[in-house]
Amino acid sequence: MRFTADDRGFYGDFGGAFIPEMLYANVEELRSRYLEIIEDQDFQNEFRGLLKDYVGRPSPLYLAKRLSQKYQTSIYLKREDLNHTGAHKINNTIGQILLAQRLGKSRIIAETGAGQHGVATATVCALMGIQCIVYMGEVDIARQAPNVSRMQMLGAEVRPALSGSRTLKDATNEAIRDWINNPVDTHYIIGSVVGPHPYPDMVARFQSVISEEIRWQLKEQTGSEDPDLIIACVGGGSNAAGAYYHYLDNDNIRLIAVEAAGLGVDSGESAATSVLGSKGIIHGSRTLLMQTPDGQIIEPYSLSAGLDYPGIGPMHAHLIDSGRAEAVSITDDEALEAAFECAKLEGIIPALESAHAFAALEKIEYGSDDIIVLNLSGRGDKDLETYIKHLTGDGKD
């Protein structure tokens, strides 16, 4: 079975480009040119150079000894939290800004939920001196004030999305509308492996630097480039896509996709798309998404703003639907507990999103001689307020 996109952007039954004609020319320009541009040697040189000198790659692969001891196995952490701007998101925005330049675009738009992708986009726009507009739900602007300030300090304009539930889904709708209204000069930097083809494939390719590095780093440290399991959290799924990418076709390697169960899968306040979702269309892609029987998209819930998306990328829908990847759901409380455990055992405060991946260690089976790679997708600075509330027993009940 094939797990990367075919030439029409389908992963099995999932993917494609379900877009109105008003977006067709924009998406078609990108589709017809993205491969030629990113496979070009000049592009690769510039991309690799920036990842090394600006982002700080390769990110370390670190054997977490005390965590391994506790779980009686070998756990290696892929330290995406050490990247510039604090998460894997910048791998993609560096790639897309270079692509936008080669497409001759002079204006960048992006959507953001918690603000991580918005900050990563504002960062590369500052780096290249390109105008940047970030759409963010009005509700998220209120709860993620520090990231709003960071984007503004980086020179970006943050525009509130006032429609619908005023969160990530609506920020995405607003960004799409902006792109419809500005078809010629604007490139839309989508932050995850979602949206119409070629976005899921393009973003996965930019993030695949993660698994490319894991291969040689693991070989250096263990003698084999293949782990037994790869664990990553999935909102839209870009860090997971990057961690899985070079291992997709090796069936001996288990891929664990960790979703946010919120208050519990059956609580009505959840973002566990693979359990609660069904096949449908969201933001131009056929995938699994949470919806009513009438096809209205349901607003998800997770304490973690980065996992709070009602769909998953079409690659993940296919991986899970075909049984290639195993989905695990982790509640807010389980993730918080895992974050504190990681902090105390390893001296690393993970992002709340990544904490979901750590919590999966309690939920899945593995052997004592297994090698597990866990993608530590981001650092927890942005979640300190949430963590402090938990410490003082003042958390969400």
Binding site: I19, E21, N173, G295
Partner: protein, 262 residues
Amino acid sequence: MGRIRALFNSKQNGILNIYFTAGYPGLNDTETIIRTLTKAGVDVIEVGMPYSDPMADGPTIQQSSSRAIKQGMTVDLLFRQVTKARQHSDVPLLLMGYLNQMMQYGMEQFVNKSVSAGIDGLIIPDLPLDIYEKEYLDLIRQSGLDMVFLITPQTVEERIRYIDSLSTGFIYMVSDASITGAKSGISLKQIEYFKRIEAMELKNPRLIGFGISNAETFDKACQYANGAIIGSAFIKALEKSDTDLEGSIFEFIHSIRKPATV
């Protein structure tokens, strides 16, 4: 012969197509709105199926959709409302909705229900042409429903020909690179685009939509196409109509087209 084809056979100019969101302003206003638009002499009625994430629509239509959904609007209720409205109207009726809604309902069942409710055609802006051709074309052709596709100023000639070959009923010309309700007035650049399409001599009639909001823009659009579509401006008129829905509808339609022509 279908109602849409019959209309264009008998009338080639000044076609007025009005869009409204089903279930707005009141959940059960659909029947009244269709009946009143019919009385007011509208040529085509486009019934919007409210959707949570209407990618191709602007804030006015999204807000009306959110409210309709909150008030309890469903696809089944819409079919019941349209079935009733059909008893008082012989005007061509189209349903405009997003593909996810039809997918969840089941496309075959959706098409069958549309036909029995008296619907004449469908507009599904996010349905890709190749998917339509491969998965739904036979179903639609057999049902007798017309299928209306959109073109924009960015659509290249070869693709316009392809869209023309797949479309029946009419072609929906998006007037500008914009979402619904975004702009007002018609520019010279838009007129160039209207003329360019006119010169292509497509097999389908053309209606211009997006940015058509009053008599001036309607008349202008009608110079270059068979007619035009008004959506957001009509919904705004309904917004203000809490007490007298019918009166507001007559007033709006008469502001576009003098009652003498009815």
